[in-house]
């Protein structure tokens, strides 16, 4: 049995997880700039470490028909590092979070299928585990920020 550390994220009304090394920064009170003519689920950027980092409202993308949720669901920002492949340079993307991430440890016996109720999870999740509250998809960050969700 192997164990891995990660962060449990609150994405609107959804829960998801990332690897412990993927989260590189947390902004509790972020100042994000809204850009016109951008997708409803990715309207903001932050300027961080001399980069323009897109901010994804993944909860909104998952509930595309529900419209914009309450502002409390976009209170904090997590910044995440990812690579398109092992040789590619590290890139960064941010996610709106309803609560600060919670450190977790997961072992491989907790593996579980993705939630059936949200078929969209298959496009943004690399794997899934279950805890006492249900399924927790593990995010595939390179897919989320690659532009595959843009339209």
């Amino acid at each position: 049995m192997s164990r891995a550390a990660g962060w449990l994220l609150a994405l609107g009304n959804h829960r998801a997880a990332v690897g412990v090394r993927e989260q590189v920064h947390l902004m509790l009170d972020p100042a994000a700039a809204e850009l016109a003519a951008t997708p409803a689920h990715c309207r903001h950027v932050i300027f961080w470490n001399e980069r323009c980092v897109p901010v994804m409202d993944l909860g909104r993308w998952l509930d595309a028909s529900a419209g914009l949720g309450p502002a409390e669901q976009r209170r904090h920002l997590g910044i995440y590092a990812y690579q398109q492949n092992a040789q590619a340079q590290v890139e960064f993307g941010a996610l709106w979070l309803a609560r600060p991430p919670q450190r977790i440890e997961v072992d491989d016996t907790a593996a579980a299928p993705l939630p059936h109720a949200r078929a969209r999870w298959a496009r943004v999740a690399a794997a899934c585990f279950a805890d006492a509250l249900g399924a927790v998809p593990i995010l595939a960050l390179s897919r989320i920020f690659s532009g595959a969700l843009a339209d």
């Binding site: 700039a33 003519a37 951008t38 980069r51 920020f145």
Partner: protein, 156 residues
């Protein structure tokens, strides 16, 4: 390319809360919206404006950079933009010239690129603005559908 990346001066056009930055090279003049002859040309143009170089179609955009069929009262300036095909006007609320120095331009992140978007990048330094080009705006407003015979050609 007529985008602003190589230009020393930029022009910021305001559309409500949205600010677009273009190379000053492609902004041929700033006219008063009062000088536009509305209804004098077929859609999608809203009207036309005459200069010494010709008569050019005029368009309006909303804050999301979608073409408008009616002109908001705040659009009091007509920015005359140059492309390879000629000039066209875009109505905006305000226009200001900005030195490129001290501003930082970034490409628009992949996750934010919608098909057909005129936004080519993000400009930070004097607030936040969207980088675009006259060519990209011409596509959004569909200039080809109402363009008068070519007048001036864009400087290169």
């Amino acid at each position: 390319m007529d985008g602003p990346s190589n230009s020393a001066q930029l022009v910021l056009l305001h559309f409500g809360r949205t600010r677009l930055a273009l190379s000053q090279r492609v902004v041929r003049s700033l006219e008063a919206t009062a000088d536009v002859e509305f209804g004098s040309v077929p859609p999608p143009a809203l009207g036309a404006i005459a200069t010494t170089a010709g008569r050019w179609p005029v368009y309006a955009l909303d804050e999301e950079l979608e073409p408008l069929r009616h002109v908001p009262r705040a659009r009091r300036i007509c920015a005359l933009l140059a492309t390879e095909g000629g000039l066209f006007g875009v109505l905006c609320d305000e226009a200001q010239v900005l030195a490129r120095q001290g501003l930082t331009a970034y490409p628009l992140p992949l996750a934010m690129r919608r098909a057909g978007t005129p936004v080519e990048g993000v400009l930070d330094g004097a607030g936040v603005a969207l980088l675009t080009s006259a060519r990209a705006l011409a596509i959004v407003v569909n200039v080809g559908a109402g363009l008068a015979p070519a007048g001036e050609r864009e400087d290169r």
